[in-house]
Amino acid sequence: MSEINRQAQQLSATILSNKRIGQYHQILLNVGEMVRHCRPGNFVAISIGDESSALVLRRAFAISRVSDRGEYGGTLELIVAPHGAGSRWLCSQGENVELDVVGPLGKAFGIPTTPVQAMLIGGAYGSAPLFGLAEVLKARGCRVDMILGASTSSQVYAPLEGKRSVNSLKIYTEDGSTGTTGIVTDPLRELIEAGQIDVIYSCGSMGMLAAIQKIVEGTDVVHQASVEEAMACGIGVCMTCVLPVAAEDGSVSMLRSCIDGPVMDGARVKWDLVGEVFGATS
């Protein structure tokens, strides 16, 4: 039995605010009691469209932050990139609109029991769940450094208040429009060699996650990667979101990134086999 979505519920959530931040929309939802079960790394699945225009499948979004102290009770924040039909629809919804939300879903980031040096790496909207994670790690006494990357400045999501929960924040853009010109993996090898990283928490494109794992390979650094595969159901029933992952004995199987992830042990994921057939039967 998957114990993972034990706390998942389906509810109607009101949009409290929808603000543009760079290329993204920061959407604040009133979800009440649900926040008590949300952990950094969990996601929600949202139904898109009204009765006449509804899309068949939900869309998945990482939970960026939750709060149970606001004037509205439990609130949950999403960072949404308007991209295709679904995310654009979501970004165009205003205050007081009711959304059909299922969550919290998926496996959260593992939180160390003793203080460690944590490096949080986010690509584009992949930084969304990292600020909530930073707060939790900080509260556990961890040192929290963060590196964010994107192709250009408007795709960097780094809210002011979020910066307070990290010890350091470095930004890389490919076009140099903000921060250092380059990509997030550039400084990594040096920091690992200097012994400044015990655990990497990453969230971003599969290419970025794979590149981080390559650098981590052979070191003692633990890599918890939050993967993004296309999901049809988000609750483990359709098998569309699978990734090749090695078990302890080395045997590879296709695990569902929605319930066995999205957070996975980077060392176990067979990054080079993603999207490949590796033998039709085992």
């Binding site: 979505n5 389906q10 068949v56 296309a230 098998m239 569309t240 990734l243 296709m254 057939v277």
Partner: protein, 316 residues
């Protein structure tokens, strides 16, 4: 009124308290959905088609959303029959669910071997024989596209299984004459038919200018295929009014389920709708019951095939 309304149904000798079932491959093994409602509250759980050996299935991307539907190319990923029978079936039986096991094979012998493993498993209501999965490497393997091959599969399963457990043959709509295929599997020993599996389709990504799915083709499901399902069910019920039909294809509401019932379905599987709404089965079940009562039916079974009443008195 609700109290006296009889919502139960039968498929051959199997009885179900309600006619709303999961669709094979759209509820995994059932556990994942049990977080949203008790599985014993629906008619039955139809499990994901299981093969003899464990399978990885097809590479990703395996999914593309399409107008009012989706394409999938899962490729029958699963744990294999032994792991399935030791881990999943006992759990479902324990949870009080009625269980219909779906099997799929690459050869006629594989189906018979699967039937042999299942023969002595307690607690099963029926066996669905998936001879119509479009997500196999070789389209020639789609038994349900060939009348002789479909007969041979069902004949093998029937002989191995003996006479107890009802056999439901799941057919593909991608054929010229679905009635001929249905007639063939019934003659070979099937007790009923499941209509319809997905239709073969393709999406080309206009950015990459290549097929979007890694497996290139996929099965189309969802509301887009409902008229095809209604037509297939109507045709088969008209030709074979005594043969129970488990209907499926694009059911998203009680009204949609009612449409398939009017065409001749004695049970309704709900697949893709669950992806968009984890409690779709419960909602559809409630809506269907209310609708039937509003229309003045005193039992579900009176509504089965009701759309045929003008041209077929027996079917009404």
């Amino acid at each position: 009124m609700t109290n006296s309304f009889d919502f139960s149904t039968t498929l051959s000798n199997a009885w179900f308290p309600t006619p709303i079932f999961t669709a094979s491959g759209c509820a995994s093994s059932g556990r994942e959905l049990s977080q949203f409602f008790p599985l014993k509250n629906i008619g039955a759980v139809v499990t994901k088609s299981v093969m003899l050996k464990a399978r990885h299935g097809r590479p990703t991307p395996r999914m593309a959303e399409t107008p009012s539907g989706m394409l999938n190319s899962i490729g029958l990923q699963g744990p294999g029959i032994d792991a399935f029978l030791t881990k999943d079936v006992p759990w479902l039986v324990e949870a009080g669910a009625r269980v219909i096991v779906s099997i799929a094979g690459e050869t006629i012998d594989e189906y018979a071997s699967l039937a042999r493993r299942i023969r002595s498993v307690p607690g099963l209501s029926a066996i669905e024989v998936n001879i119509s999965c479009p997500n196999v490497e070789n389209r020639g393997l789609v038994f349900a596209c060939d009348p002789e091959a479909s007969r041979a599969v069902i004949d093998g399963v029937r002989k191995t299984l003996g006479g107890e457990l009802p056999i439901i043959a799941k057919l593909s709509p991608d054929v010229t004459d679905i009635v001929a295929i249905a007639r063939g599997v019934i003659e070979a020993g099937a007790d009923g038919v499941a209509l319809i599996n997905t239709l073969l389709g393709m999406v080309i990504n206009t950015e990459t200018m290549r097929p979007h799915l890694a497996g290139k083709t996929g099965g189309l499901s969802g509301p887009a295929i409902r008229p095809v399902a209604v037509r297939a069910i109507y045709q088969v019920h008209q030709a074979l009014p005594k043969v129970p039909i488990l209907g499926m294809g694009g059911v998203r509401s009680g009204r949609d389920a009612f449409e398939l019932v009017l065409a001749g379905a004695s049970g309704i599987s709900v697949g893709t709708a669950t992806f968009g709404n984890p409690t779709a089965l419960i909602d559809i079940q409630k809506q269907l019951q209310e609708l039937l009562i509003t229309k003045g039916f005193s039992s579900f079974r009176d509504a089965v095939g009701f759309a045929h009443r003008n041209d077929d008195v027996d079917g009404a």
